[in-house]
């Protein structure tokens, strides 16, 4: 009798059942709580005996005992066992359960797929939301850039005007006019202009006091608080500040001021006289020392020709004011509007009878830009230029214009544009040198009228009709095309978007389209063009029918479209689409 059998009170190797019996018997005396050490010894022996019994099956197992585990018991393959396919029906399973059974593997796979789908949908939603946000931001930035460019153009124009007035030695009344003009008023608070003006004042300390005073009072309305950005400027103009309230003690002073003023007036008159007399004294050859005869010659010549062709008086920006810098070489301006610069170049021989002007100019195009810009501002239709954005002061003029109009309600505007262009075409300058340009009327990136100045007059009626009748159709057609209906797997058969398949359009937001086969609505499409009519891409969703039924869309509307869209209820028919 040896360990572990002895510990269990067995005479020798025994079968598992006997071992268990013996263990249970002994446990009564070696209770785990009362005799931990005895129990520990007993248990160790029990474990060892059980292990031995298992490895070496007892010589003669009783027939009633359940079969020994398979010999490969130590090496069973859990992986296989635990993942055994449901189809391989286990033989050992007891009576077939009354319960329903499930194909777990398939369901797990489906569950995984669903999770993936949800993940994808969330990502898509996230992208969509961000896209709308970015589009809105981009639009804002574009607007900002445009307004900045415009402001800079204004500032530059106003500064040019300053220079011109100074170099021409303009009388106070002209300065006054300038200060009252929209050119100055629109640029007045612009920092570019302010800095430019400060530089100008420092460069020209000889500016007449009256003029300086006029500037001072333009920037410092009596009794009002000084805006901080004007302070440096007003400090420069300190000497021109109006005298304080005249008191009895100031009488002498004001007399002195009168005296000084008189002297200054005298000086000014002298100066004006000098300036005015300069051109007459020097004549066209005044600058022959610096520039070649022909160069100065053609500038004066072109001025004359411009005057002949368009009336009024013009001057060369290059010749005037001693700024013979190459960057002003081809710049001209009307004398009565020194800020309105344009380009003119000598070209070929002049022969008015044969239609040869002897020069080229974009003067009329500049006039056109001015008019179109005015129109854009009046009607609030964004105007874009092509091929490059126009920057004021550089004198170039674009040849392609885009008007961005809303999806609906711009009929009057189009008519007004037609009227404007018609009126312009009857202007003498237009008749003299018709500007060549192309004009696109767009809604987003949908173009509904393309006007070329070379092809006769602007057809306002046609544009208006096209806009009111065809644009929405085109828009809806585009919605359908981009809704994915064309690419969708709709199965066999011919699919039509029947007239019943309507698109309800609210603003630029198309609620749904449905594709029908026979009488049954198979699929709904939920399409929208985000950000239209500002000119952005289409975003398209296809929505399974079930989702529509669950009212999923209604819940989502508010979240998905945070952008404000003009409310407009409108139902249009969608053309059949194959």
């Amino acid at each position: 009798m040896s360990w572990p059998w002895s510990e269990l009170g067995l005479s020798g190797p025994a079968d598992p059942r006997e071992i268990r019996r013996a263990y249970a018997q002994r446990l009564k005396t070696a209770h785990p709580e009362e005799d931990p050490e005895g129990f520990q010894r007993l248990h160790t022996a029990y474990q060892a005996a059980s292990k031995l019994a298992r490895q070496r099956p007892a010589p003669s197992p009783p027939p009633s005992q359940r079969p020994e585990p398979e010999p490969e018991q130590q090496d069973w393959d859990y992986r296989q066992l635990l993942q055994q396919d449901q189809d391989a029906a286990p033989a050992r399973t007891g009576p077939q359960p009354a319960q329903k059974d499930w194909d777990y593997d398939r369901l797990f796979a489906e569950g995984k797929e669903e999770e993936e789908a949800v993940r994808r949908r969330k990502l898509e939603e996230y992208r969509r939301k961000n896209r709308a946000k970015y589009q809105a931001q981009a639009q804002q930035q574009r607007k900002k850039a445009q307004s900045e460019a415009r402001a800079w153009a204004d500032a530059a124009g106003a500064l040019h005007a300053l220079d011109l007035l100074y170099t021409n030695g303009a009388p106070l009344s002209q300065w006054q006019d300038f200060l009252d003009s929209p050119v100055f008023l629109s640029a007045k608070g612009n920092l570019d202009f302010l800095f430019g003006l400060e530089d100008f004042l420092q460069l020209h300390p000889d500016l007449p006091l009256t003029v300086r005073r006029a500037f001072y009072s333009a920037y410092q309305a009596p009794g009002k608080r000084i805006r901080p950005e004007y302070r440096p400027l007003l400090r420069l103009l300190k000497d021109a500040a109006p005298p304080p309230q005249p008191g009895p003690r100031r009488l002498k002073l004001s007399r002195l001021a009168c005296f000084i003023l008189a002297i200054m007036c005298f000086i000014m008159v002298l100066a004006i006289l000098t300036v005015h007399s300069t051109p007459s004294r020097t004549g066209p050859t005044a600058h022959s020392a610096n520039t070649s005869q022909t160069q100065t010659g053609w500038h004066q010549q072109v001025c004359t020709w411009l005057e002949e062709d368009f009336g009024g008086s013009f001057y060369s920006f290059y010749l005037q004011g001693g700024r013979q810098s190459i960057q002003f070489y081809s710049l001209f301006a009307p004398s009565d509007n020194p800020g309105f610069l344009f380009i003119a170049k000598q070209e070929g021989q002049r022969d008015p009878d044969r239609g040869q002007r002897g020069y080229t100019t974009n003067y009329t195009q500049r006039l056109l830009v001015q008019e179109l810009r005015g129109f854009s501002e009046t009607w609030d239709y964004p105007l874009a230029f092509g091929p490059e954005d126009f920057i004021g002061g550089s004198g170039t003029a674009p040849e392609i214009y885009y008007f961005d109009l809303p999806l609906t309600g711009a009929g009057e505007g189009i008519t007004a544009l037609g009227t404007l262009l018609d009126a312009l075409s009857k202007e003498p300058w237009y008749q003299t040198l018709p500007p060549t340009f192309e004009l696109f009327l767009n809604c987003g990136d949908l173009n509904f009228y393309h006007y070329r100045s070379t092809q006769g007059p602007f057809d306002g009626d046609y544009a208006c009709n096209n806009y009111e009748v065809n644009l929405l159709h085109a828009f809806a057609r585009r919605l359908v095309a981009e809704s994915g209906l064309l690419q969708a797997e709709l199965g066999e058969g011919t699919w039509d978007l029947q007239p019943e398949g309507t698109a309800e359009i609210e603003g630029n937001f198309c609620r749904w389209l449905s594709a029908r086969q026979g009488e049954q609505i198979q699929r709904h499409y939920f399409v929208t063009l985000d950000g239209l009519p500002a000119g952005t891409d289409a975003i398209v969703y296809s929505v399974p029918l079930e989702m529509m039924d669950q009212g999923w869309l209604d819940d989502d509307d508010a979240q998905v479209y945070p952008m404000e869209v003009p409310a407009l209820d409108l139902t249009i028919q969608v053309w059949s689409y194959h």
């Binding site: 268990r20 263990y23 398979e70 090496d75 569950g111």
Partner: protein, 579 residues
């Protein structure tokens, strides 16, 4: 004076008592056996427990708590109204309510109880449970593992036929899997495993989220109240799915309105990950018990979530065995706890019944690591699944010349490095000066059936030190500090990627093996790291080949059980294919 048994569950709690030869359930004031484990604070500061509190989960989510069993032993706090409670305090309210029900039912004061806890509860969680009982005025000397309690209940109700059972206990918040042998007057737990954070509540949440997904609602964007309502609704539907199909789940609170038809198939699809998590502990417990699924006699499914047909079928299918009929999932544990209470009270009709349980985790001490100083190795003294009570000792030697003190850090866990395991306590012993390796101490761990660990250290010169660990608990500061330590660690580039992977593989194998095999893995790992530290590429290469071959064998032997999912085990195959 009676001792009662208490099943303190995540979702529901029950009390029972051993009376006149059987275990009786104790009804609560409403006449129900199940008391929901929920606590709510009323406007006037009174504490509500049970069904009333559970109903307030939706109406007053900010004043009500449930599921706090999951946070036992942590420093998490619940704020109910203007008061803050620990999970123990909340549990103590439930226990107090059960105690009062028992006093009314029995007509005598009740001051002692046997409380069942998930077998896989850690020391800290057990200690917290005991503290909760103390707060409720109950003396708890005995904590019984839930699957053991269920097995005992089964044993009493089905007679003493010889059986090997797998007890699959899926409760509201925890999963316990045990292999139990029953014969004669003995109920012997052979191995336990589990997942402390997998239960019916996870299903509720998954279903609520799945419902939202399918209805196109963003669950995360809902208010807490709406979420709570949805989860509660999911729970109801989940329970309804056990008996009928399909079930229409509909919610409408004026703001949120949706409905969906649910089926068991839908449930399986949505909770795929939960099903897959269920299987890992089952594999592990078979390996630890040293038996194959074919040797099982009985599959006992207990715990509220075992009602779910989808879970029953899945486990039955996986084990190719039908669950035992007659086991009542809801009450088996409570009945078993009642029997254990009777045993504790030395009830004469239970005198012969013996329940032996096992230690669910490995207990050991920190050992100096020659190859990576500062990264102590866990030296196991009581292996997991050792039968209780257990008393084992190991001999440890000094590592430096003239070492004055031997420090004993007691850890719990399955990982090779102490830093990955849980520190239970520290102990020091002075030793006489001597060259390294000449002084030794014997460290004895005694882990009794009540879950009390006693550590005694004896030097050669007869000096001793003792440490009794009962309320060891990892503090928040410790947890945070350890996290910070891990974050500040820079990775040592001393091994190439391949060798690094081999070491990681060895460490993984170390956690899944026990006994001599574990020692062999440790020895091989030590040897391999020693070879690596020579910094001779040729030698390291040869060592890597050899170690890899060895680990292949180990993996083939253990069946690579630690990898829970099929796709993960494919990686293992590839590893094995390498020369």
């Amino acid at each position: 004076m009676a001792i009662i048994g208490i099943d303190l569950g995540t979702t529901n709690s029950l009390a029972s008592v051993w009376r006149s030869g059987k275990s009786e359930l104790i009804p609560n004031a409403a006449g129900d056996y199940l008391t929901p484990s929920a606590v709510s604070v009323d406007g006037d500061g009174t504490i509500l427990v049970g069904r009333a509190a559970r109903d307030r989960l939706i109406s007053h989510p900010d004043r009500t708590a449930a599921g706090f069993k999951r946070d036992m032993g942590t420093r998490k706090t619940y704020t109910l109204g203007d008061r803050t409670f620990t999970p123990e305090e909340l549990s103590s309210f439930v226990l107090r309510s059960l105690r009062e029900d028992a006093q009314v039912y029995l007509g005598e004061p009740v001051t002692e109880a046997v409380v069942s806890v998930p077998a896989y509860f850690t020391e800290a969680q057990r200690a917290a449970t005991k503290r909760a009982a103390a707060l409720a005025g109950l003396r708890v000397e005995r904590l019984v593992n839930e699957p053991s309690a269920a097995a005992v209940a089964g044993h009493i109700s089905q007679g003493d036929e010889d059986k090997v059972c797998l007890v699959f206990d899926l409760g509201g918040g925890t999963l316990d899997v045990s292999v139990v042998e029953r014969f004669d007057n003995v109920v012997s737990v052979t191995a336990v495993s589990g997942d402390n954070h997998l239960g019916g509540q996870d299903f509720d949440l998954v279903l609520a989220k799945g419902f939202c997904e399918d209805c196109g609602v963003d669950f995360d964007a809902l208010t807490r109240q709406q979420q709570e309502m949805l989860v509660r609704q999911s729970e109801t539907c989940k329970m309804a799915l056990s008996t009928q199909e399909p079930v229409i789940m509909a919610v409408d609170d004026g703001v949120l309105s949706a409905s969906l038809s649910l089926s068991n198939e839908w449930l399986i699809r949505k909770s795929r990950a939960l099903f897959q998590r269920m299987i890992a502990p089952v594999r592990k417990v078979f390996l630890d018990a040293g038996i194959s699924p074919g040797e099982l006699d009985d599959l006992v499914m207990v715990g509220g979530s075992s009602h779910m047909p989808a879970v029953r079928r899945y486990i039955a299918r996986t084990l190719e065995r039908e669950p035992a009929r007659g086991a009542r999932p809801d009450t088996a544990i409570a009945l078993g706890a009642g029997i254990c209470a009777g045993m504790k009270a030395r009830s004469p009709d239970l005198k012969e019944l013996v329940l032996t349980d096992v230690c669910p985790f490995t207990l050991g001490v920190a050992m100096y690591n020659e190859h990576q100083p500062g990264r102590h190795i866990m030296s196991p003294i009581i292996e997991r699944n050792s039968v209780l009570p257990s008393s084992k000792e190991g001999i440890y030697y000094t590592v430096r010349d003239n070492q004055q003190i031997i420090q004993v850090d007691v850890y719990q866990g399955e990982h090779r490095y102490c830093s990955d395991n849980t520190l239970l306590g520290k102990l020091e012993l002075r030793v006489p000066s001597a060259p390294r390796g000449e002084q030794s101490v014997r460290i004895r761990f005694t882990y009794d059936i009540n879950g009390l660990l006693e550590v005694s250290v004896a030097g050669r010169d007869g000096q001793t030190a003792r440490l009794v660990l009962q309320n060891a608990d990892m503090t928040q500061e410790e947890a945070e500090r350890r996290l910070a330590e891990l974050a500040s660690l820079k990775l040592h580039p001393r091994e190439q990627e391949e060798n690094r992977a081999l070491v990681a593989r060895a460490e993984r194998l170390y956690t899944v093996t026990v006994g001599p095999l574990r020692d062999q893995v440790a020895a091989m790992l030590d040897w391999f790291q020693g070879q690596l530290s020579t910094q001779e590429p040729l030698r390291a290469g040869r060592a890597a080949k050899r170690a890899s071959r060895f680990f292949d064998q180990v993996e083939a032997y253990v069946g690579d059980v630690e990898l829970p999912f099929p796709d993960a085990s494919l990686d293992g195959d590839e590893e094995e294919d390498q020369p």
